[in-house]
């Protein structure tokens, strides 16, 4: 009986202490990255390499996802609204849905898998094969060599990829709406403009920026704090993708509440 009580107390203690320890480790990492920012000559060239790598490397998947998203939105809008509501509403619905929600969120979820998994796996493998220890033993900062370039590359490239996705999705939606619903260019353009607010484009970019921070920071944190060999790397990768995806959806709600005022 007493061992059961001890076990329950141990589990309860761990359930409080483990998240607190994780918050502490994350804060430590942020402080390290803040200090590493002074080493511009180290992180700047690596950031450019990373940005090029994730930007070009992710372009195909982003183009594919955004094309399908725009097309499907146009088809579903046509299915729901034809006959009851003016056809130009399809233009409004495609543009607003894509720019406000689908473009940034779908791109972020795809990139959470593509970039987040890659970063967590790279850093996790470097941790378990002692490469990060080796870097430290040479008196060099893992923050400026490994972490800052990855996080900044995300902050630079993901908003750009979101903007590209917005344009491609709206364009594809336009083409699909025109070819399947018979909407004219003038009607689609009118619909796209009629409910458009100047904030909408910025909102999409701001979301891209916050999602980029979530992807970069969480995946680097999970990879950097990997423990216990190959199994640990697997756990870090899964944890990075799941945590980042959930955080993207959570940020989506918070940003909508904070920024979009009716």
């Amino acid at each position: 009986m007493s061992s059961l009580v001890e076990w329950a107390m141990f589990r309860a203690g761990r359930s409080v202490l483990d998240p607190l320890a994780a918050v502490g480790r994350f804060a430590d990492l942020m402080v390290e990255m803040g200090r590493g920012l002074v080493e511009v000559k180290i992180w700047f060239p690596r950031t450019m390499e990373e940005a090029w790598s994730i930007g070009v490397g992710s372009l195909f998947i982003v183009l594919m996802i955004s094309s399908f998203t725009g097309g499907v939105t146009a088809l579903q809008a046509g299915y729901q609204f034809t006959g009851n509501i003016p056809i130009y509403v399809v233009g409004s619905l495609v543009t607003e849905s894509v720019v406000l929600e689908l473009g940034p969120v779908l791109v972020a979820l795809i990139l959470a898998g593509r970039i987040g998994a890659r970063y967590a796996a790279e850093l996790g493998t470097m941790r378990v094969t002692e490469q990060i220890d080796a870097l430290e033993s040479l008196g060099r900062s893992p923050a400026s060599h490994l972490l800052i370039p990855r996080v900044l590359a995300c902050l630079l490239m993901i908003p750009v990829l979101v903007v590209i996705a917005d344009f491609v999705a709206v364009g594809t939606g336009w083409v699909i709406a025109k070819s399947t619903l018979g909407i004219s260019n003038q009607d689609f353009a009118y619909g796209a403009r009629v409910y458009w607010h100047p904030l909408d484009g910025w909102y999409s970019i701001i979301k891209g920026f916050f999602f980029a921070a979530a992807i970069g920071l969480i995946s680097c944190y999970r990879g950097y704090t990997t423990q216990q060999g190959a199994e640990g790397v697997g756990r870090s990768v899964t944890g990075a993708v799941v945590t980042t995806s959930v955080l993207v959806l959570l940020l989506d709600v918070i940003l909508a509440k904070l920024i979009l005022k009716p």
């Binding site: 002692e130 080796a134 870097l135 033993s137 040479l138 008196g139 900062s141």
Partner: protein, 252 residues
């Protein structure tokens, strides 16, 4: 000089180091023997500040490693070369870039001509051809990776070198080359070394003193001849496999 005073370290419920005391003098080569899992590598990592001890002091060149700030620790690390058990080469960089990162002097690091010459020199010291520089770590065998790791550790001409099993997995010829390198670094450059190893014969050839770490403590320490005659049961058990202790004490 490296001084380790009453150092303890625990991982979860496992107490790995339990009041370790050790002094390594300037220019001395200390071999640290001990069964697997007794915290030899943990002790090496604590010396360079990669692991913080729970208790005790680690003093290198009169600096308390466990309480050094980031910049001071980086400066101290620049004077210490660390040879990792499996090389720990950066797999996204070729051999040259790996060795170049070992140049802890910024002026030398930024001088490509010097870096290339020094990399070739270090590769020759560990019995590798200079054209190995162009290869990626994935193209090297385990033994070659280990030797490139040693080349990286000595590239910055460190005052101290910490070796974590430098000869494990190497063939006898290359083990002898590494042993000779340790001796040469001591004789020519006065490098102070701590060598964690299971290679008992190699340690008798290269070390000035040998220590046995077991049960979280140093249980025996002394020059090779003295160590071989130690009455401590753990030492006898450890040496039995490599030496004919019942006979005249010569290596088998």
């Amino acid at each position: 000089m490296i001084e380790i005073k009453n150092v303890s370290k625990r991982f979860g419920s496992q107490k790995v180091l339990n009041g370790v005391n050790l002094v390594v003098n300037e220019g001395e080569t200390m071999a640290l023997l001990g069964p697997s899992g007794t915290g030899k590598s943990v002790l090496l990592k604590a010396i360079i500040g990669l692991i913080r001890p729970d208790r005790g002091e680690i003093i290198v060149d009169d600096q308390h490693v466990e309480s050094l700030k980031r910049v001071a620790l980086s400066k101290l690390r620049a004077t210490i070369g660390y040879v990792f058990q499996n090389g720990a080469l950066f797999d996204s960089m070729d051999v040259f870039e790996n060795i170049r990162l070992g140049l802890t002097d910024e002026a030398e690091f930024k001088n490509p001509e010097y870096a290339r010459t020094r990399a070739a020199e270090c590769l020759r010291l560990v019995n590798l051809q200079p054209d190995t520089m162009k290869k990626m770590p994935a193209q090297l065998s385990g033994g070659m990776r280990k030797r490139v790791g040693i080349a990286r550790a000595i590239a910055g001409k460190p005052k101290y070198v910490l070796y974590d099993e430098p000869t494990s997995g190497l063939d006898p010829v290359n083990s002898d080359i590494i042993d000779a390198l340790v001796t040469r670094l001591k004789d020519e450059l006065g490098v102070t070394s701590i060598m964690v190893t299971h290679d008992v014969r190699g340690s008798f050839r290269t070390a000035d003193r040998i220590a046995l770490l077991t049960g979280g403590k140093i249980v025996a320490i002394g020059p090779p001849d003295e160590f071989k005659e130690s009455p401590v049961a753990e030492v006898r058990a450890f040496l039995e496999r490599d030496f004919d202790l019942e006979g005249n004490g010569a290596a088998k």
